[in-house]
């Protein structure tokens, strides 16, 4: 985008070409006016026929340029085409002016300042330093004309009564005239191209400022959209939490009301009270999970009690607790711990919770007689834990949601009424809190395999 002004667009070049052609009509009329006034002031002096013929041929050429420009437009010529065309026109103009000056008295005419017009035009239309070439070119053409007249190679038209006729034969006058022209043309080229360059620079800054404003606005819009999404997620989460928290209380309240209003026969009352108690416990578990989740989300690292945790030792402790449950369900429960697994930098309770949630899930969602395998190993940078079962498994669609808060598959609900749907959210958050990652492979009806990797604690020797 920044190059826009250094390489003008075709549209701009077309406009400039049109402008140059219009300017030439103006120059032609100006010259005609000058010739007529001069003829009035100095009657019988000027070669009127030649001068008028010169102006007429300029007009004819300009008509041809007009058509050519239209042709360029219809074939949507490239910018190079336009630049070449401009060079051609300017050179033609200078040659033409030289012929005009020749008939107008050569050295004697004051109208050689017309040359400056083309230097200015070159500064405007052509890239940076090209104007200096034209300053040189006009000086050369003028010098050539004067030398040709001086040496008598072409006739000299004397402006009788205006200038002394022998001047054109004196090199000092030729030198003075060409020097004056060059001394004016070069500064003109310098100033004009400087002004044009500065204007271009301003325009460029303006365009860039506009662009950066647009970028900024776009960034803000994106940020805003992201905040809106977050806000939406947040209220969705709150709604879910509300729903989950209300459900057990509503169930308990319904049961209590039934008993109070005498809907429940005495022999069934104990059963109903036990069901109520189960819901109360469910509520307590949910609240405790929600608290864990909130703490994991909010606490900053310095507030967390981080220590070197021996993952193998924690796993051993959790396994001892789980063994009984696995035996109750008649599961084949094996634990394989590789020797020499290094510690990780984490909170002990979090690591305990990580293992507990994963292993208790595996036991919960595996039919009696199934297998649960837990393993702990390491790779160069990570401590890798794995919990595999031959349980109910999940479909790919269910897998996509498995770490979402409150998500439980219908199969899981059918198998185990109890469950907050937060266990895996907590697991994921714990793993991510310590810079690790967790992944899961599963096949419906075949089983699931949860794996996590936690970064090894930096070795003490290294410090």
């Amino acid at each position: 985008m920044a190059d826009v002004l250094h390489t003008p667009t075709e549209q701009e070049l077309r406009d400039r070409t049109d402008w140059l052609i219009r300017a030439r009509w103006l120059v032609a009329s100006g010259e005609l006016f000058v010739v007529l006034v001069a003829n009035y002031l100095l009657p019988e002096t000027l070669p009127m026929l030649s001068l008028l013929a010169t102006i007429a041929s300029l007009c004819i050429c300009n008509t041809i340029f007009t058509f050519y420009s239209q042709q360029l437009r219809s074939v949507s010529a490239s910018s190079q085409h336009y630049v070449r065309f401009t060079h051609f026109q300017l050179t033609f103009d200078i040659l033409f002016l030289t012929i005009f000056l020749h008939f107008f008295g050569g050295l004697e005419t004051p109208f050689f300042i017309f040359y400056l017009i083309y230097v200015v035009i070159a500064s405007i239309l052509l890239p940076n330093k090209t104007a200096f070439i034209y300053a040189g070119l006009v000086s050369l053409f003028y010098l050539a004309l004067l030398i040709l007249e001086w040496r008598g190679l072409i006739p000299h038209y004397n402006l009788a009564g205006f200038r002394i006729p022998i001047r054109f034969q004196q090199p000092i006058h030729i030198f003075t005239a060409v020097f004056t022209l060059a001394a004016t043309a070069f500064p003109t080229a310098y100033f004009a191209s400087n002004i044009v360059a500065r204007l271009n620079e301003r325009e460029k800054e303006l365009i860039e400022a506009n662009l950066s404003c647009e970028t900024r606005a776009q960034e803000l819009a994106e940020l805003n959209a992201r905040l809106e999404r977050l806000e939406k997620d947040r209220s969705q989460f709150i709604r879910l939490v509300t729903h989950e928290l209300r459900a057990p209380v509503a169930a308990i309240q319904s049961y209590l009301r039934l008993i109070l209003e005498g809907y429940v026969p005495p022999e069934k009352q104990r059963e109903i009270i036990e069901k109520s108690e189960r819901r109360a416990l469910e509520q307590l578990a949910l609240i405790s999970d929600l608290l864990d989740l909130a703490r994991l989300q909010e606490r900053r690292e310095e507030e967390r009690k981080v220590e070197l945790v021996d993952v193998a030792e924690v796993l051993q402790g959790v396994t001892d607790l789980m063994q009984a449950r696995a035996e109750e369900k008649d599961l084949l429960f094996t634990v394989q711990i590789d020797p020499g697994v290094p510690p990780v930098q984490a909170n002990l309770e979090h690591v305990k919770q990580l293992w507990t949630n994963l292993i208790s899930n595996a036991i919960k969602y595996t039919e009696p007689g199934g297998i649960v395998v837990v393993s702990l190993s390491q790779n160069p940078n990570y401590v890798v834990g794995m919990v595999r079962d031959t349980g109910i498994g999940m479909t790919p669609e269910q897998l996509a949601h498995i770490f979402e808060e409150f998500y439980r598959t219908d199969e899981a609900k059918a198998m185990e009424r109890q469950g907050t749907g937060l266990g895996l959210s907590i697991v994921k958050r714990i793993v991510e809190t310590y810079g690790g990652r967790i992944w899961v492979e599963s096949e419906k009806g075949k089983g699931s395999k949860f794996s996590f990797a936690l970064p090894k604690a930096p070795s003490r020797k290294g410090i």
């Binding site: 709604r239 729903h243 209300r246 459900a247 509503a250 319904s254 009301r257 809907y263 609900k413 059918a414």
Partner: protein
């Protein structure tokens, strides 16, 4: 004797409602999901459906009520919606561009007297 279908994934809610209704002489059948509910609507032709809007997913209950509207036979069965979401949040859950036809709305927990009154109203039409 009017036949009432309860669709809710919370078995305790089903149980409590069942006890209330059966004590008052209604025949009660139940389903744990929207799909199961639709199947029971077809098979058992209940006189009234008590539907939890938020089962496993928010749209479960909603889509069940919408699919009941598509079938002219089931369209006339009144639906009583029940949810454990607070009243004020309730509106925000509905897709605004879809027409949800429900005949009544109650918030859990539902006092037995209120439940019986609404059921009687809807069946009496």
């Amino acid at each position: 004797m009017a036949k009432i279908l309860i669709v809710d994934d919370d078995p305790d809610f089903v149980e409590a409602t069942r006890m209330t209704l059966e004590a008052n002489g209604y025949q009660v059948i139940s389903a744990g999901s929207g799909d199961e509910g639709l199947a029971k609507v077809k098979a058992e032709a209940p006189d009234l459906v008590i539907l939890d809007v938020i089962m496993s997913s928010v749209l479960d209950g909603l889509s069940m009520s919408q699919r009941m509207q598509e079938n002219p036979e089931h369209k006339r069965i009144p639906i009583l919606m029940v949810t454990s979401i607070a009243n004020t949040d309730y509106a925000a859950l509905f897709p605004t561009d879809e027409y949800i036809s429900i005949d009544g709305f109650l918030s859990k927990p539902v006092p037995p007297a209120v439940l019986l009154q609404r059921v009687a109203e809807l069946l009496g039409r």
